[in-house]
Structures are given as structure tokens and as C-alpha cells.
């Protein structure tokens, strides 16, 4: 049962990822990306990372993608421009070559990792367990992230100002 779920989710994730980078209409890309993010959330769930599952759905597939789709609609691109911006042959060729090289290299590195135990469902990634270590061992990074978000907000305000 679990392995069936895993395979379905991974196929959906990879296929929608391919669609994300290959569709010429950015709105189609954004919707594919949302599907991909939901599938990754499902993969988190099969890893028993329940907290990540819900955060991925709420923050990533929810908030971030709404922002992206909102901007796409705001820009309201013309059909002609979108077509011109689809995948271009030579670039795809070159970057695919690079990609195949990187995949081969990293896959070899990762396949060497025979020393891993299979995924153990024992590790409990519930909100309670994750929160416990976030607010004890990781309280410093937590504060850093809050500053980071503040800096990003100030930055966006500066970029959004029409005039000074």
C-alpha cells in the first residue's frame, strides 16, 4: 500500500515538475508547480513527516503559490510574448547535457550510499516533536529566520515604492 502510494506520488511530482519547466504559459507552469508541491507534501506524509506535510500545503502550495499566481495575473502577459518565451532548442540541448552529467555524477554518489537503513517510520515528525527541538536546540536559527523575513518585507516595500 505504502509503496503504491509512493510510486504514484513520485510519478506525479516528477511529471508535474517537467510540465512546470516546459509549458509556455506561466499560469500553466504555476498550476503544475502547485500539483508538484502537493505531491511532495504527500511524499513528506509517507515519510511520516506530518508537520512538514501540513506546512508544505499551507505555506508553499497555499501562500507562496497564491502570490505567484497573483503576480502572473497582474502582469497579464500577451499570448504572443508567451509563445516566444517557450523552451528554446539550443538552450534546452546544452542545459540537458549539463543536467545528464550532473544526474549521472550525483546518482553515482547517492547509489554508493548503500549504508542507509530503509526509511524508518519510527521517527515521528509530528508538530509536537518538531516544535520541541525548534524551540530548544534551534531557537537561534529561528530568530535568524524572523530577521530574514523582516529584511525581505522591508526589501519588498522598497522595491514596490513608486517614487521616493
Amino acid at each position: 500500500m505504502e509503496s503504491v502510494l509512493f510510486w504514484i506520488l513520485s510519478v506525479v511530482a516528477v511529471a508535474s515538475a517537467v510540465l512546470t519547466v516546459s509549458r509556455s504559459n506561466p499560469l500553466a507552469s504555476a498550476l503544475s508547480l502547485t500539483v508538484c508541491l502537493v505531491a511532495v507534501a504527500g511524499l513528506f506524509a509517507t515519510l511520516s513527516a506530518h508537520f512538514l506535510f501540513i506546512i508544505q500545503l499551507l505555506v508553499y502550495a497555499g501562500a507562496v503559490m497564491v502570490l505567484v499566481i497573483y503576480v502572473i495575473m497582474l502582469l497579464n502577459l500577451k499570448e504572443r510574448e508567451m509563445k516566444a518565451l517557450g523552451l528554446s532548442g539550443p538552450r534546452v540541448f546544452v542545459s540537458s547535457l549539463v543536467a545528464v552529467f550532473v544526474v549521472a555524477l550525483l546518482a553515482r554518489a547517492q547509489s554508493g550510499s548503500g549504508g542507509f537503513d530503509p526509511v524508518s517510520p519510527v521517527l515521528d515528525g509530528s508538530a509536537r516533536r518538531v516544535a520541541e527541538i525548534i524551540f530548544t536546540s534551534y531557537v537561534y536559527p529561528f530568530e535568524v529566520v524572523s530577521i530574514l523575513l523582516l529584511a525581505a518585507v522591508v526589501g519588498v516595500v522598497v522595491l514596490g515604492m513608486k517614487k521616493f
Binding site: 512546470t20 506561466p26 503576480v71 516566444a84 523552451l87 515528525g125 518538531v130 529566520v145
Partner: protein, 101 residues
């Protein structure tokens, strides 16, 4: 049947590389931004899978932080895109060439 870590790693690697190809091959700024998100997701999945393989919950915490960072980055990136679009009326990377003399 229990799924091996290497299966999760394969998916994460594919997501990462597909995202990288998107960044390199696409000229539409918005799609490039989304491709970066794909790369981050690949890394996130690897963190979550490794957390299980190693029995260290730190992996989950990192994913949580990375999602926050990705949100911040997406906001700034989109703001840059909107600011440029207001001025130039395009999202085509190849049209932003005033820096090449």
C-alpha cells in the same frame, strides 16, 4: 513493503535537476523563479528522507526553515519582476540587455 531511502533520493535529485534545467533553459522570468522553487523542493525532500535514514529529526527542522526562506525569496523575486515589468513591459530575460555595451 518498506521504501528504501534511495528511491526518495532519486525523486529529489530529479526535482532538483529539472529545476536547474528550467533556470538555465527558460527565458520567461516567472518560470525561472518557479524553477528555483523546484530546486529547493528537491533539496527539501532529500533532507526529509535523510532525516529518516539517519534517525535525526534535524532534517525536518531544516525543511521548515527552508520553506520560510523560500517564501521570502519568492516575495523579493516577484517584487523585482513586477518593478521591471512596470518599466519595460516584458518578462523576457533576453530583452534585459542594457548592461551589455
Amino acid at each position: 513493503m518498506i521504501i528504501g531511502t534511495e528511491n526518495y533520493l532519486a525523486v529529489s535529485l530529479l526535482l532538483f535537476v529539472i529545476g536547474a534545467v528550467g533556470v538555465l533553459a527558460r527565458r520567461n522570468l516567472l518560470v525561472v523563479l518557479m524553477s528555483v522553487e523546484l530546486m529547493l523542493n528537491g533539496a527539501n525532500l532529500a533532507f526529509a528522507a535523510f532525516a529518516r535514514a539517519r534517525g535525526v529529526l534535524a532534517g525536518d527542522v531544516i525543511v521548515f526553515f527552508v520553506i520560510a526562506v523560500a517564501a521570502a525569496e519568492a516575495a523579493v523575486g516577484l517584487a523585482i519582476v513586477v518593478a521591471l515589468f512596470r518599466k519595460r513591459g516584458t518578462v523576457n530575460l533576453d530583452r534585459f540587455t542594457s548592461l551589455h555595451q
